[in-house]
Amino acid sequence: MNLSAEKIFVTIGGKEILCDVNYKFASGKRTAIIGPNGAGKSTLLKVLCLLNEKFSGVVTLDGKDIRTIGRKNLSRVMAILPQERDAPQDTTVRQLVSFGRFPHRKFFGGDSAEDSEAIKNALELTKLTDFENRQVISLSGGERQRAWLAMTLAQRPKILLLDEPTTYLDIAHQLEVMDIIADVNKKFSTTIIMVLHDINHARLYSDEVLILKDKKIFAAGYPTEILSAKILSEVFNVEADIFTNAAGDKIIFPIKNH
């Protein structure tokens, strides 16, 4: 499905956050949104899924305005993993994941075969099948993040939006989460749009990179082409070394502030 943002302006509390953002997100690809703090990355993500409704401009899904599609219908094709979330203490992994089926359920009636199948698949994809009866609160940070990710996967979205999916995780868990996302993208051609902090994650785990700076799109394109020392210096104000690792990937290493 084709998701496009056209002429997006957002003002929150008198302060302009996004100014004339236009972008067509590549269908079936992984797009990373990066940029310095306060550039409007999370705001853009929230506009794309109607979490923020107070924007001017239009977001279209296959040519249709998402405002006219409506929240309920949108949630059947698009899932979002926000940063702000909560769950009652006794919620089990399985219960949490099953909430992902909420958009597909009829007002009356229980679990359909499709619901059970989607929940089972989501648990498998996130390697949580053995944890399904554990309480979410008892899990480690990485496992908990996977459980929330599993909830969005149970939604069986065509487009998956992720707001800093690796924040607060240690390195091993960061890679685990990024690998699951890559896996989902590959298996189901799910369009992934994620706000990332780590430039190397953006470089290694995305097909396109969108750089925001000062409320606007600063640059966009293939990660290998766009993530250069020059851009880094211009966007983040840091000097960086770029070298090739043993696997042949180019790694960006920030060395100092200007």
Partner: protein, 325 residues
């Protein structure tokens, strides 16, 4: 496991029902109750006892059950929509709003007019709206809800006190209004309450899944397709209706909506599909048993059940305050 727990709570509710019919200044045995109400057995009941059972204790017990159900469900809803473990219709002033408007209409139209509950509902909704307006600042924060609620409650409570003092001749049972009690509740009160209880309970049970999703936070709920603001408004109205109908019949009975949903949550967990029926049954049990206790412990003096609930509820409130906020 959950089925066993719910059955036990159901049994407690049934026990409360019979206890309330048996206990009192005139002893009526369970055999006599079964005979009179169900036509089982052969025990005869003299006319006085029959009158006491059928026209005093039975309606009072039914009112106790309905009030217990309404207030418990109201509290259970408010705790999810206001994201606050301490939200109880009494503590945050929704009952006071209902009371103020209810009493006002009673003064004009007399005691049990059909207009009283709708008026009380309007008052309860206005109180809820006031709490949201005061507490809303980039979304709802639990601590602001409770502080705004305390202020609204004090403000509206003062209005009630003033009305009751100036027009004490027009409203019967001033004390009962202020502390909440079941004294002299009759079939007329059952009729007043029953339609709202049935309507409110059915609607609440239908909203169980929405309440579950609301517990995940506003952003997650929106991502799952829930129209959060609309659902929150409808559910708040439902909680206000449940509380308002109870207030019109038993006055400002507090803490039921706090103690019961929390106890049910401790026993049954946070899944509203199980929690709501559990809270309804537990509410019926708690109010019937507490009322029986309150009216018999200092016999022949009858203690309003509201006093007992406050004595249990205030420490419980403090316990939750330490634990949850």
């Amino acid at each position: 496991m959950q089925t066993i727990k719910i059955s036990l709570i159901g049994m407690a509710a049934i026990a409360g029902f019979f206890l309330s019919l048996i206990q009192g200044s005139v002893e009526i045995s369970s055999a006599q109750i079964f005979y009179d109400l169900l036509g089982v057995g052969e025990v005869t009941l003299d006319e006085t006892k029959r009158q006491i059972l059928e026209n005093i204790r039975l309606p009072r017990t039914i009112v106790a059950i309905l009030v217990g159900v309404n207030l418990s469900l109201s509290g259970a809803i408010l705790q999810a929509v206001m994201k606050n473990p301490l939200a109880d219709p009494h503590i945050i002033g929704i009952s006071s709003g209902a009371g103020l408007f209810g009493i006002f209409v009673m003064m004009i139209f007399g005691d049990a007019g059909a207009l009283v509950t709708p008026a009380a509902f309007v008052g309860a909704m206005l109180a809820a709206a006031l709490i949201y307006i005061l507490a809303w600042k980039d979304g709802i924060r639990p601590i602001r809800v409770i502080l705004a609620g305390v202020a609204v409650s004090a403000f509206l409570g003062a209005g009630i006190s003033a009305l009751l003092i100036f027009y004490s001749d027009k409203v019967h049972g001033t004390l009962l209004w202020m502390v909440g009690g079941l004294s002299a509740r009759s079939w007329q009160h059952v009729e007043l309450l029953l339609p709202y209880s049935i309507f409110g309970t059915c609607l609440t049970f239908l909203a169980a899944r929405h309440l579950n999703v609301l517990q995940l936070g506003d952003e997650v709920a929106k991502g799952l397709g829930l129209r959060v603001n609309l659902v929150r408004t409808i559910l708040t109205a439902l909680a206000a209706l449940l509380a308002a109908s109870a207030v019109c019949v038993v006055g400002l009975l507090g803490f039921v909506g706090l103690i019961v949903p929390h106890s049910a949550r401790l026993i049954l967990g946070s899944d509203y599909r199980i929690l709501l029926p559990g809270a309804a049954l537990l509410g019926a049990a708690v109010v019937t048993i507490s009322d029986t206790f309150a009216r018999t412990i200092f016999a022949p003096t009858e203690l309003p059940v509201g006093i007992l609930m406050a004595m249990l509820g205030a420490p419980f409130f403090l316990y939750l305050l330490r634990k949850e906020l």
